[in-house]
Symmetry: C2
C-alpha cells in the first residue's frame, strides 16, 4: 500500500498532484452546464462536481473554480439567472470533453462540437439535445469557499426532462438505461453497470436487494 502524507502531496509536480487528488475521492457525475449571455452568445462547459442539495424544494449544487479568470458560465447565469444541466451519455463523451477547451467568450462551444443547442418551453438557457436527461435551473445563491476561492453554486430545479423508460415505479431513475457516464479524475469517462438496489437500511436487519 502506497502512503502519501500531506507534505509529500504538496511536494508533487502540479499535474501529477491534480490527477491524483481529483481521482482519489471516487467517480463523479458528468454534466454539461449550458448558459447564454444577454447578448445571445451561448456557452457549454463540462462539470464533474454537480451534487444533490435537496429534494423539497429540488436543488442541486456544483463547484466553480476561482473567478481569477473570466468564467463564461458564471458570467452568464449571474446576468440572466438561468442555466441548464445536461447529463453526459456514452455516445457524447468526446464532444463533452472538448467543451473544456478555453474558447473566447464570443465563441459558443456548441459551434465547436457536434452537440446540438436546443430550447424548451421558452427557457432562456440552452439545453443539449443529445443529453437523455436535461434539467433547467434558476440561479439561487453562491457560497465562497474561503480556503481556496472556489464557489459552491446553488440552483433550483425548474424543469426536468427525461425518457419515460428511465423512470421506475418509485421515482428512481435507472441511469444505465440511458448510458449515463461517470467521470474518473479530470479526463476519464466510465460507463457504470448496475450491481444492486437495496431496501432502506434498518437497524439489525441484513441489507436486502429490491
Amino acid at each position: 500500500m502506497k502512503h502519501f502524507t500531506k507534505e509529500k502531496l504538496l511536494s508533487l509536480p502540479s499535474r501529477y498532484k491534480a490527477h491524483l487528488i481529483n481521482s482519489c475521492t471516487g467517480y463523479k457525475s458528468a454534466n454539461l452546464i449550458g448558459s447564454k449571455s444577454n447578448s445571445g452568445i451561448s456557452n457549454l462547459a463540462i462539470f464533474n462536481s454537480v451534487v444533490h442539495i435537496g429534494s423539497s424544494p429540488p436543488m442541486l449544487g456544483f463547484i466553480l473554480r476561482p473567478l481569477t479568470v473570466k468564467r463564461n458560465t458564471y458570467a452568464n447565469f449571474k446576468e440572466t439567472g438561468f442555466f441548464t444541466v445536461n447529463q453526459v451519455n456514452a455516445s457524447m463523451i468526446k464532444e463533452a470533453h472538448h467543451t473544456a477547451a478555453s474558447y473566447d467568450q464570443d465563441i459558443s462551444e456548441f459551434s465547436k462540437t457536434n452537440l446540438t443547442e436546443t430550447y424548451l418551453n421558452d427557457f432562456q438557457a440552452p439545453y443539449v439535445q443529445e443529453s437523455a436527461i436535461k434539467i433547467g435551473c434558476s440561479y439561487v445563491n453562491e457560497y465562497e469557499i474561503k480556503e481556496n476561492g472556489c464557489l459552491l453554486v446553488i440552483g433550483a430545479i425548474e424543469h426536468l426532462y427525461l425518457p419515460e423508460h428511465s423512470i421506475q415505479e418509485d421515482g428512481w431513475l435507472s441511469l444505465d438505461k440511458v448510458d449515463t457516464v461517470a467521470i474518473n479524475g479530470l479526463d476519464a469517462y466510465a460507463l457504470p453497470q448496475l450491481l444492486a438496489r437495496f431496501a432502506y437500511a434498518e437497524t439489525d436487519t441484513p441489507t436486502k436487494s429490491i
Copy 2:
C-alpha cells in the same frame, strides 16, 4: 420525453420525489466517512456527496444534511477535528449500505457490519480496512446552505493510502483496477468500466484518447 415542471415536482409524494431528484444529476461518488468521539465510540456512515475542492492544498468537501437531528459524524469531527474517507468497492456494497441505518450514538456501525475498523499512523479517526483507497482528513470549515440548512463540510487531506497498481505514471488513479463503485440515487450501486481517457482539451483540436 417526460417533462416535470417545478410545480409538478413539488406535488409528488415525498419518497418518489427524493428518488427522482437524487438520481437526475447522474452517478455520485461512494464513500464511507469514519470518525470517533473523544469517549471512544466510532462511527461509520455512507455519503454520496464527496467532491473535489482543490489540489493545492489538497481538499475535499461533502454535503451534510441539516442538523435538526443529531449527526454522529458531525459531532465527532467537530469534537476531535478528524475524519476518514474510505472508497466503497464492489465487494462491500451491502455492508456499506447498512451504515445508513439509524443506530444510537453509542453503537459503532463497525460492530454491526463486517467492515473492519483499522488505525494507521496514529491517526485519530478509524479507517475501513477493506477500502482500497483511504483518506485521512482534518476538519477545515463548514458552510451552511441557508436555502435548506444543509452544510458543505471542507476537509484537508492529511494522508492518502492506495494500492500501487492503481496509480498511473501521471498520477491518475485507475479506479476500475480497485472496483470502486458509483452511486445511482439513494440506494443503487453500479460498477463503472473505463471507456476512455482524453488528452487535455485544446481549442480547434479534435479530442484525442491517451
